[in-house]
Symmetry: C2
Amino acid sequence: MTQSPDPTDSVPYRWGDPAHAVQLKPGMRDTLRQLGADTAAASVEPEQATVPDSRLPDDFRRRLVAIVGERHVDDSHQSRVAHAGGWSTTDLLRLRSGDAHAAPDLVAYPASHDEVVQILQECMRAKVAVVPYSGGTSVVGGLEPSRDGFAGILTIDLRRLDAVTDVDPVSRTATLQAGLRGPQVEKELQQHGFTLGHFPQSYEFASVGGYAAARSAGQASAGYGRFDEMVVGLVLATPNGTLQLGTAPMSATGPDLRQLILGSEGAFGVVTSVAVVIRPIPQRREYDGWAFDDFDTGTRALRALAQEGPHVAVVRLSDEAETAVNLSNPSKMLEGGPGGCLAIVGFEGTHDDVSRQRDQVEELFTHHGGRPADPEAGPSWERGRFAAPYLRDALLDEGMLVETLETAGFWSKLPQIRAAVTGALTQELNGDGRHALVLCHISHVYETGASLYFTVACAQSDDPVGQWNAAKEAANKAIRSAGGAISHHHGIGTVHRSIYHAEIGELGMETLRAVKAVMDPAGVCNPGVLIAPEAADATL
Amino acid sequence: MTQSPDPTDSVPYRWGDPAHAVQLKPGMRDTLRQLGADTAAASVEPEQATVPDSRLPDDFRRRLVAIVGERHVDDSHQSRVAHAGGWSTTDLLRLRSGDAHAAPDLVAYPASHDEVVQILQECMRAKVAVVPYSGGTSVVGGLEPSRDGFAGILTIDLRRLDAVTDVDPVSRTATLQAGLRGPQVEKELQQHGFTLGHFPQSYEFASVGGYAAARSAGQASAGYGRFDEMVVGLVLATPNGTLQLGTAPMSATGPDLRQLILGSEGAFGVVTSVAVVIRPIPQRREYDGWAFDDFDTGTRALRALAQEGPHVAVVRLSDEAETAVNLSNPSKMLEGGPGGCLAIVGFEGTHDDVSRQRDQVEELFTHHGGRPADPEAGPSWERGRFAAPYLRDALLDEGMLVETLETAGFWSKLPQIRAAVTGALTQELNGDGRHALVLCHISHVYETGASLYFTVACAQSDDPVGQWNAAKEAANKAIRSAGGAISHHHGIGTVHRSIYHAEIGELGMETLRAVKAVMDPAGVCNPGVLIAPEAADATL
């Protein structure tokens, strides 16, 4: 139904194009052994995975068929397994072990906003939990609704909503349907001379609907903005009808309801399209590496850049450990230590813009103790910018536990947040001959603060899912007590829910529940994601 | 209780410092006569204004006294008249005629967030409508809650909440209490080397609470951002407790609830403080004038500036009629016509920034058909930037009807919006020997669109309030049908409510009502503002 590459068309726990699978370098295996890793047990083939019996009544299925047509309703084993969760490491570990308990009962593929509304109304009537699926790349359990009290789970796969329906070159806006994936968006806009400039690490598969649902931020967010900053309008399908927003870029027409829908993670309904700002394709894209003696020095330089300008496209800074891992050969992975920190600065724009900004950054960074890094550092980052998920697969094969987590905070709190998270993760994971690597980088900068992105690698224990869940809980608590936000761009899903509730407080939660009750009176929209599930009575 | 200048300390229908009152130039009166104006009838002295009997029960008053102290509860005639509405022209016309029916029954002056929460809880208990008041500068009826079904109206005047409670120079944030007025904010931040950079036309009196409640945008919004873009955290007092938001500049922690509170205009509760981004005091502030042959040419140049940069502080463009009025002597007011259009571009920053940006703007504007205007144009705009409300008073004295309204839209729609609004206003106001002047400027620019700000002047009819209400309704409909937002920075209040409801739709309205029901279960918070009042039963 779509020509784009699709993780659901291949092995559902291996990322992307098999041709791009990462082969670990010689010597890496020895390093992993030093960390305590054993080669993982062979994975269960997807065809052998265990899924719950599909239990939706025939009548409901018939109604869906009446809306979208027989060939767009699918309850095959293959399709259900392919939609069983997202791409967190625990999602992958479970699928590798043959556990597809999170699989939906049925998958529907609507082709229009109106079809989505009709499906949601059927779900309300039949008390079927419904999860919107576009890229499928959630790493926070956002695709795993609660079954309790529902007749079953329907996945609405939005891949047929894959059109750019409007391009306004004067206003520099485009209207994108929710099922469009990153590369499709760029390809379509390119024909008009524009780019969206949104490049999350999951770019190959993540989609517009997911960007909107989870407040995505791409690697070029410093220049192009977060996705929620790009959105000037949106259309939301709910069981209670349609909400259409966005008459102007900004206004004083009451609360900005666009920002209430962005980040709602399917709990209020399904975002079917968004209007976004688009920019001319840059004449040049250049990525430079800069070296700093330590993370604190580099952080001060990045802060100066974010606060004083110029506003470049990409700004990142790896800490000492991540720099060591990224720059050295695998045998040096364990050393970490005082090798300094690598920053990446990306410039996109006209030839003049890029030249001018480069000069300004050189002056600023030199003033703040930076020096140009190996000229290959920038291009090397560019080549590998979407490769991490492939590397994770290869490391999981070798018995490693590899996962990422992230937070954001104000500049003055970043040092304490980083120390707290690193400490919590190493304390939780070290032991029994295992030694955790905790790497950190700043990936997105703002005038008043930044994000911190952590990559964790550790040899798997006998219960890697439990092992990670314990580490994750420790990290969540550390983030909260150090004053960070529980997510910068991954979202809340199910795994951040309880800490999120503490972050926005009881009145904040009551507000979200009240909004949900208006848009989704039967509580069928992604129940348990973002908002804790209420006891729901199955009425079938 | 406050040292800052205060319109409520002087004549409540004359703006600002009497020493700054505008004297019309010789010849202006003749021009006004040509427009059909007669000198207005003498105004009723505030002491003679008619206010409804204060009807709140003694018990309620005693409870307020227990919270804030006897000297901070005021039901004097003077104080009630001073809080009777905002600063729209119809507000002023009514007060000038001695009509203070909108006066609250009582005014309370709390000194802390907790006192505000306690007052709101008392209002909920006693079913007293409550309106937060900080600058008092609403021009959309935002200070005029519905009385129907309530025991009375209490105004919470926030002027005692006037502290800058935190300045974080590393993160470049400051925490501002809601009662701080523009000049107070700048004075306090200046001591730390910072500026907020928020300069609405109402700067002398408008306050932080109002900025937040109504999504204010200042004249330097192109560079410093709108107020809602400056806010990184806020504290809201509601009858149902406290909502505290803002752990990071931006995050993926669900919907951005800050943007649900900003623009809520007192309908959900009272914003008692906000955390905002602050910037170093610029080394230089320079304002240049640029001339364009016509509004379309100038608009294209401004669009190029907003979309391609540099990001300067101030960007404005007056249309032909406004340019003629601003630049010529009063006798040329009626000519309008082909005198070209004046743009103002303001630069703020380091010496280097200002020089570089000036060069870039010169290149861009020259390319787009601009030429430098009279060197006095920029400084002249700067001197007069806060003067319009004084001029209005003088023109009202002369029997003129003078008012402003504004909208925002995407660039491609701006021409049709401007034509529709201008047409609707002139058609409604012209006749019976009267000739309306409708002036327009672009006052705020974004990549994807801009605001349009209209100034209307016409000789008063026998019923100037009715005359303006009819014109305003025609303009509202024109904005809506041409695809603009019903307000760019004035807000919704009561006068935009019905068009606003059409703009966000029934589901949007149900959502707002649901949020209000959580935070304000008894519906006492600024009833009828933003959200249409529901029949409320007085329970006293």
